[in-house]
Subunit: 424 residues, 2 copies
């Protein structure tokens, strides 16, 4: 991204909470916290100070299939930040005393999440639909699981998962590909790790803006980054209600959707946007604009390597709940029964294209796109090619997919006051 | 911002909930919603579709002193978006039937906010410290106030406040100043409004990146945009506790701080950052890293034209509450008792400078900065000048300010389970 003063760099680990067993539940997220607690040359305070002094956005995130340590900083700070991230990932002390103290912080984080009705709703839904599959567990596990997690579990987790081919470094921003590569190689050398076998790819020149993605330690790209022996989940149909003394009822209604990289993903994008992707979407217009029944109503989708979920989220006072669910199902069904007009599809194509081009201005978004492409083995297409793929989606395809989804078993999760809400 | 494909444009109204009386409470926020509900040439659906088809981020926000309608879109869509925003602000139908329907949406929005313990905490704190001053009221008012708000109140509100000199248009991005000005003038002409008396300023050339701010209808800049006859608030010391069945206790402890544009604002920035502005801050290190007592702990500040508040926020399980409050006060006092080292100040200067330069890459952040400068009458200084001002802050100034704040009457708001927590 020539001319940009900043760069976003991320070190990704193709491992998440789904790779844990019941015994090691919560260790991926706990490990992410521990990497900030010290290396042989820097204690926790020095690590925090080294990130903060750049004035950038530095943090880490753990998800069900991925962990990422990232920083958006000025290109002039990139060399220091790269060395810091590589040091953290490679040489963390994982000190036992720090581990005990951090247990308290993680329990506080889980308590904070338990007080957020939206977090509870999405966790409940996954618990409902995934049965006893590891994807059912919340990323951070439960407070009870964290209370008994052993220090040795983290050490094992680190030594078995923070290794090639699971590690990917991705970057986007003002630095050139060669500059980033040089910094990464220097950082690896400093951390005592060879980089002879590192592979590296970069963003399509058709995009007009170079960016770097280096898969460290393995010349094979794509799905080789993910664990091979993962058990494919099955969708469980059912219903859950966490009773909470809230004013609104949180509603999440969904079914099996499309996994990451599915060949029909462009049809899926159009469907998600048309049904519930903006203020002109069918759900927003029907539920909020025409009837004033909710403030927030939209489609949601989560995508894993081998599974996806499709859903409709709404938050409303309990007395509006049944009407909102009925309308949501009616709009979903209307799309299944009748293909949208070409002009409605064209509006969505325009929306998705504009959003894609606007997204190119963010080094963080581009770094993410690079890394996910590398990890999930999805070809990195130029924005123009992507727009072309969206443009080729037909109204019939959208309607057919809506019908296909509608025919699948559904699950419903509720969080809030007790209600008699029923699926028709 | 030459070369950028996007532009962020905002139409600002220098009016917010503090300009309401008890009788008109909630009308500013309600009006913001109504502007999306239709003009003589576009109904609500057409307005939503016109925003969505750009793929941009378009929305509006109401605060206690400001209202803003904004969009980040591609420069190629800017002309259409400018015309749309001007049409909404100038020619809204404010239809009585739409008004009744939107009442439900706003009540849902307030219910959603009531279920967010953080929102409740910050609203409680303002209610506590501002007594019967209009700043005490939450921006959206209460559900009961919204239930009885009359349609005529909105009409009056619109005709009296959506007029010069309260209106400011600000923009930043890939379009030139003259291009934006031309689009605004065309949009005003289309809306039947003359622009003869519009004033316009632009970002300092020293910043190396032009951007546009046009104050519509009044050649006087600065505080002339705000209402003159606002009553200056007084700080009320006290304590509040909203009992909620949550796992965490939300804690907000604060005193009177510095208002917007205060001459000592650079010292204030250093203080806020050093005490509670990042993961290396004193509060984060003491409360979270060294003792593991909380996940989130940081300084907060709100700034109005004539008043500011300074506070410390923390969320933790109730049994940690007293220890967190004691530590927060101890760290605050330690800064007051002893000036920090020059190297600690230098680290904060580096953090604030980096953050400022990184912020220049966002057209939304730059549009905001322009508008606030114009509305609050704060000189628009170049980033280099701002960095120079931060650099000139001394350790003694920071310590003296910490002591000055510490000597002021304090208030404490809590949201969560009942506790015996006390201020020492």
């Amino acid at each position: 991204m020539p001319g940009l003063a900043s760069e976003t760099i991320g070190i990704w680990v193709a491992a998440g909470s789904r790779d844990e067993s019941t015994e090691t539940a919560g260790s991926t997220h706990f490990l992410e916290h521990m990497l900030f607690k010290g290396t042989p040359t820097k204690d926790a305070k020095a690590i925090a100070a080294a990130f903060d002094r750049t004035g950038g956005d530095s943090n880490a995130i753990t998800a069900k299939e991925l962990t990422c340590y990232f920083s958006r900083c000025l290109v002039t700070d990139l060399s220091d930040i790269t060395a810091l991230l590589v040091d953290m990932v490679s040489n963390s002390n994982l000190d036992a005393e720090e581990f005990e103290r951090e247990r308290g912080v993680i329990i506080e984080e889980l308590a904070m999440s338990a007080d957020d009705p939206g977090d509870v709703l999405f966790d409940d839904f996954d618990q409902l639909i995934f049965g006893d599959h590891p994807l059912a567990r919340p990323v951070g596990a439960t407070k009870d699981q964290i209370r008994v997690l052993g220090h040795h579990t983290l050490l094992e987790h680190h030594s078995t998962t923070y290794v090639p081919p699971r590690l990917v470094i991705a970057a986007a921003g003002g630095a050139t590909h060669d500059e980033v590569l040089g910094m990464v190689e220097d950082a690896l050398a400093e951390a005592g790790i060879g980089s002879e076998s590192a592979s590296h790819a970069w963003d399509s020149p058709a995009a007009g803006r170079p960016a770097a993605a280096a898969g460290v330690g393995d010349a094979t790209g794509g799905k080789a980054h993910a664990r091979g022996a993962r058990e494919v989940p099955q969708f469980h149909s059912g219903r859950s209600h966490t009773v909470k003394d809230t004013e609104q009822l949180g509603i999440l209604l969904g079914c099996e959707g499309l996994e990451e990289g599915h060949p029909d993903r462009f049809v899926y994008s159009v469907l998600l946007t048309m049904l519930g992707g903006g203020m002109s979407s069918r759900l927003f217009q029907s539920v909020r604009e025409e009837r004033g029944l909710a403030y927030a109503v939209n489609c949601v989708a989560s995508q894993f390597t081998d599974f996806g979920t499709f859903g409709i989220y709404a938050g409303c006072t309990p007395e509006n709940g049944q009407a909102v669910v009925n309308l949501a199902l009616a709009e979903w069904d209307r799309l299944a029964q009748e293909a949208p007009s070409r002009s409605e599809v064209d509006a969505i194509v325009s929306q998705l294209s504009g959003s894609m081009v606007l997204g190119l201005e963010s080094s963080a978004a581009r770094m993410n796109r690079l890394a996910r492409s590398e990890i999930f083995g999805i070809p990195l297409e130029s924005p123009l090619d992507l727009i072309e793929r969206v443009r080729s989606v037909t109204a019939e395809q959208v309607s057919t997919m809506a019908g296909d989804l509608m025919s699948r078993p559904k699950s419903l999760s509720l969080v809030g006051p007790q209600t008699d809400l029923a699926l028709p």
